[in-house]
């Protein structure tokens, strides 16, 4: 008789079909399961019902300005590296109704009291969980707590997955965020050909997993997983040297390189929209034609948008070079002053999805070379 009691920190082997049942349990417990799904020739994050909605047998090849998917035919669900979307869209919705106002004599406000959904995120990578950790610092502070984010974050179930096959745009190892999870999840998967290894991270995770038909893993299985994770960490071709950040950037606002980047950057804002930590937002009124009813919404914004830094009398950053400089010196510089950490997790999305193929690791290295020259 074996002891199948789970505790936090336990690792067990879970036959792949059991994950389907685990997701069903999550939904039965009031969670909306969202996860990766093959759509629009890419991988998006959306509501999924179970294993069948996951991108089975797909790997990705990501390079600057390029995202390709390749069919492997394998019975594996998490071989790909995520696409442009990140979990940010569930915690910090791209558009959200704050309140509506109606003029009936005087203006009356109606708050948006729709309850926040309880999401279960299926397949969160280590860099992505680190990004959620960074956004926690941005949105949940002593002096300001974002109610929209907080309600979603409090009810969040995180099913993490360790990355075993990083793409060429990944550099999480050098940012210290991945590819292996170190905590902060409810359950964490490592996918092998035949089975998932699952680590328990929370009471809820333990309870859900207890109801599943898991097995206790043998040394061979655990070694295989460990070796795969080890390989992943050493296979990353990109890296960011953070040793002289943030000073390298904040102390060299007049570097020539900014001018040079300004010629290539299109100010399309893609990098900020795909970034899992970028948090800027705008608020706008959607008003009816009579001007008697309005909906006030919060929308994602970007420091690359020309209106972003508009003040009466002009734009404080009229040139693209100064917008790029703002983005990078914030992300890898002043972010630390504001929130105690750098704002980059090394996921590489901004490199893959930049139409001009601008690579921030290369830009930081170029600024370093210029300064040291």
């Amino acid at each position: 008789m074996t002891d199948k009691t789970l505790t936090i920190g336990s690792t067990v082997a879970l036959p792949k079909p059991e994950l389907d049942l685990l997701m069903a349990d999550l939904r039965n417990n009031g969670f909306q399961t969202v996860g990766p799904h093959l759509q629009d020739e890419s991988i998006v994050y959306k509501e999924i019902a179970g294993l069948k909605d996951l991108p089975r047998g797909i790997t990705t090849e990501q390079t600057p300005a390029s995202f390709r998917m390749i069919q492997t035919g394998k019975e594996r669900y998490f071989d790909f590296i995520p696409g442009s979307q990140s979990w940010k869209q569930f915690l910090f919705p791209p558009s959200h109704l704050l309140f509506s106002a109606v003029k009936e004599g005087k203006w009356q406000l109606k708050e948006n009291d729709e309850p926040a959904p309880h999401y279960a995120l299926i397949g969160v990578r280590a860099c992505e969980l680190a990004a959620i950790g960074i956004q926690d610092k941005v949105f949940l502070r002593d002096d300001f707590s974002d109610p929209i984010y907080r309600h979603r974050r409090e009810g969040l179930f995180i099913l993490a997955v360790n990355c075993l096959d990083p793409d060429a745009t990944c550099f999480c190892a050098s940012m210290g965020t991945g590819p292996r999870h170190t905590g902060g999840f409810d359950l964490c998967l490592t996918e092998l050909d035949d089975v998932f290894l699952v680590e328990v991270g929370s009471e809820l995770g333990r309870s859900l997993l207890s109801a599943r038909n898991f097995e206790l893993p043998l040394a061979f299985v655990q070694n295989t997983a460990n070796q795969a994770m080890e390989r992943a960490a050493h296979s990353m071709v990109r890296s960011m040297d953070t040793s002289d950040l943030p000073g390298l950037l904040t102390g060299n606002l007049d570097a020539e390189r900014w001018m040079e980047i300004g010629k290539r950057c299109l100010s399309c804002a893609n990098c900020t929209q795909v970034c899992p930590t970028c948090f800027c937002w705008n608020a706008t009124d959607q008003v009816d034609i009579l001007g008697k009813a309005t909906r006030r919404e919060r929308l994602w914004d970007s420091c690359f948008n020309p209106n972003y830094s508009y003040v009466v009398g002009g734009n404080t950053r009229p040139n693209i070079r100064s917008r790029y400089r703002q983005w990078l010196t914030h992300k890898l510089g002043t972010w630390k002053d504001q929130f105690g950490v750098l704002g980059c997790v090394g996921c590489g999305r901004c490199i893959t999805w930049c139409p001009a193929g601008i690579d921030l690791t290369e830009e930081v290295a170029a600024i370093r070379a210029e300064v040291l020259a």
Binding site: K106, W107, L253, T316, R321
Partner: protein, 292 residues
């Protein structure tokens, strides 16, 4: 760098958990000030909100006009002088502020605030004070002017340098006499005058050419176009006034007032929460960086 920022922002209207949700305030009075500028006196429609609302001069409110959006507007008075009303002098120049120009007494607007840091009226006690402002930069200082007058004995020489485009653009001219009677040296200057203008023509920073300041006991409070403040700061620093005795109020695009939306960042600061009033020492490395 050991600069301490002064943040007295108590979110006294209490809505920390309600993102961008304003309180309604009724327009009690509208005073035309100059071409395209008017002053609104506002009172919260909810007496409970009104009674717990407090602010310090230099702070600002987000003013919401349904259908148009919000604009950050400085307090243009202090609570004592305005009998507890909110006073906002508004230049009708942007989308929201132009809409404000079409409002009438009795209409309501949304208010969130107060936000940001205030003028350091305690820290500069005992000093000579040079208030250097231009255009719509006077209203954010008017509350400070009232408080200095009310506590006149706590301060040394007070000089008020005020610049405007033309004599017709000068704000609150009926109050200058009171300010002078309180011992303010009023130096009003315009960019261009006509035959009837007997005042100064020139720019605010040139005052420093003709007057001597004691650098050890002089504080500067400046608000106005950034280019004007830049030259005021050059002149003040050239006269060896320490950078932590120069206080500057900055303007940036703001959507939240709580350091959340990201728009108003300059360097490490969120101007809405760490400012708008800064000791210049905190900005030394970033203020003159082009387009930063």
């Amino acid at each position: 760098m050991t600069t301490t920022l002064i943040n007295t922002a108590a979110h006294s209207a209490g809505y920390a958990n309600k993102l961008l949700l304003p309180h309604w305030a009724e327009i009690v009075k509208i005073i035309p000030e100059a071409e395209g500028v008017s002053t609104f006196h506002l009172k919260f429609t909810d007496p409970e909100v009104q009674s717990r609302y407090h602010f310090e001069p230099g702070q600002f409110n987000m003013l919401y006009i349904p259908g148009y959006g919000e604009a950050a507007i400085s307090m243009s008075s202090d609570l004592e002088t305005a009998n507890g009303l909110l006073v906002h002098t508004i230049r009708h120049i942007g989308n929201v502020t132009k809409a404000a120009n079409r409002l009438k007494v009795g209409d309501v607007v949304g208010i969130r605030g107060p936000f940001g840091t205030s003028w350091p009226l305690d820290a500069i006690e005992g000093m000579d004070v040079v208030i250097a402002c231009g255009g719509i930069g006077l209203p954010p200082l008017r509350g400070a002017i009232y408080q200095i007058i009310r506590n006149r004995e706590k301060y040394g020489k007070i000089t008020l340098l005020y610049g405007a485009r033309t004599p017709a653009d000068l704000m609150y001219p009926s109050e200058y006499e009171t300010w002078q009677k309180a011992g303010f040296d009023m130096q009003v200057t315009v960019d261009r005058g006509d035959d009837t203008w007997t005042g100064r023509v020139g720019v605010v920073p040139m005052w420093f050419y003709h007057f001597r300041v004691d650098p050890h006991k002089t504080a500067i409070l400046t608000c106005g176009p950034e280019i004007m403040m830049r030259f005021v700061i050059y002149e003040a620093l050239a006269r060896r006034i320490p950078s932590d005795h120069i206080y500057i109020s900055l303007e940036r695009n703001m959507k939240c007032g709580q350091g959340a939306c990201g728009h108003c960042q300059q360097g490490p600061y969120f101007i809405c929460k760490d400012g708008p009033v800064f000791p210049f020492r905190a900005l030394e490395n970033i203020f003159n960086v082009e387009e930063y």
